[in-house]
Symmetry: C2
Subunit: 247 residues, 2 copies
DNA sequence: ATCACTTAAAGTCATTTTGACTTTAACTAG
DNA sequence: CTAGTTAAAGTCAAAATGACTTTAAGTGAT
């Protein structure tokens, strides 16, 4: 039997039977990218997929799909993300497993239980192009500001608005103990670029001089002998992240 | 059909069929309690259950079991914990979903896939009594030091040793932004008791005066008009936690 | 009742860290 | 050569931290 399409219940079974089915497992991803908001300032955006079936037909939802028997959780997250958006982030991390009973528990689909394991990532600007193999589905994938206050959709399918809000909260706490921010940048970056990431995530501006001083205390940053030229000003030195990469 | 017993594969299906089964979902719990280690100093202990079936028959494992269709993830964690140990922690939090392919992937059980969602908690001393309804299973439940360096078992069933280590790591990071520690104490507690919890979790001693000063900066602590009497010294004031309780 | 003993709670002080700001350096565009 | 721009380093007062001292308030023994 093919896996049930996410996040709709298994077809065929009636409501009473569905209530007895074991919970099905799905994987979703929240991908954050740094793009200029409508007001011009760089903010966090997420890719969303428009639903073409009930429930929530026409609403925007997080990219996701089922977990198959032969792949790890992270592999499943990557595969679903590639299939729905063509994206391929360098860094993925598990966010949370959502399995409350009210999820997808609507009259029209019965009480089939769906547990979603959600992964999240921060991607670089050049990784935000949707894959070219999507065909006609291309129109149903788009980047949106992560927060309604920056122009993002106030309502998403299922409980996906709450999931994005939770991911934002985690991101803002996690950046305090760093590391996450580096994955949004390339191999080498200037301190100003790194500061821009921190400012977008935290939602406030940081003093350049103090930011520089504090990062010097962190041993995970290494100065290279390269400089970024081309600006109409003194060229900034490029740095490299030397800390841990995965969990 | 009854849910599959945790964490053994569904009986009846042969190995080839098992590989095609959708992943099954199980819930486990890591319960930390503060007890004196063999050396007398208070350290972290966890309740473990001895396995009575293959695989890992005779090894110690985390309490856990299957997720049924009609309960939330946290409810399932509570129910499984009560059934296997009789424990009922006041506070439970989700730790992580483990679903790597090597989990339980042994020749004798085929490649049935088990995804475990792990919850964790810190409990008070008076909550460490195992329930009285366990009967003959009582001998197969026991508290063990969480760390091998304090006398705990170096090897556990499945990947449970890694899970406990990860929970310890999360605990030591999380206590920095507090809150977790309060759940190990009662409604009211002295600053010395709170300091003992922090010391056990962090594994080092803290200066009483500085600890007091730093907590006064935290608004989540409220001094009561009660004092703990009975010691052969000046009675300490009792405090109350006023911060958030759940997620 | 007095005294030695113990821990609570507050205070002291030098050092470190932080936040706001200033100065100097090094490039580009005209 | 000059004005404009940002990089990078430096200054300084305020706040936080770590090690330590002093005083308070109970207990049990004499």
């Amino acid at each position: 039997m093919a896996p049930a399409p996410f996040p709709v219940a298994v077809g065929g079974a009636n409501v009473a039977e569905r209530a007895q089915l074991p919970p099905s497992l799905a994987i979703s991803t929240v991908i954050f990218a740094l793009k200029p908001a409508p007001d011009g300032r760089p903010t966090l955006w997420v890719p969303l997929v428009r639903r073409v079936r009930e429930p929530y037909r026409g609403s925007w939802a997080l990219p996701g799909g089922p977990l198959t028997a032969s792949e790890s959780l992270e592999d499943a997250a990557r595969r679903n993300l590639a299939e729905t958006t063509g994206l391929d982030p360098a860094y993925l991390e598990q966010l949370y497993a959502f399995g409350g009973l009210r999820r997808a528990n609507r009259p029209d689909i019965g009480s089939q239980r769906v547990v979603s394991i959600v992964y999240w990532a921060l991607v670089r600007a050049h990784e935000t192009e949707f894959g070219g193999e999507l065909g006609e589905e291309r129109d149903n994938v788009a980047w949106h500001p992560a927060e309604p206050s920056h122009g993002g959709p106030a309502e998403l399918a299922f409980d996906h608005r709450e999931i994005v809000d939770y991911a934002l909260w985690r991101l803002r706490n996690k950046i305090e103990y760093a590391q996450v921010a580096y994955h949004v940048l390339g191999e080498m970056f200037t301190l100003a670029q790194l500061r821009e990431v921190h400012e977008a995530v935290l939602g406030r501006s940081l003093d350049p001089a103090n930011f520089r001083r504090q990062l010097k205390g962190t041993a995970d940053l290494e100065a290279t002998e390269h400089y970024l030229e081309g600006g109409r000003h003194r060229p900034p030195r490029l740095y490299r992240y030397t800390g841990p990469r995965g969990l």
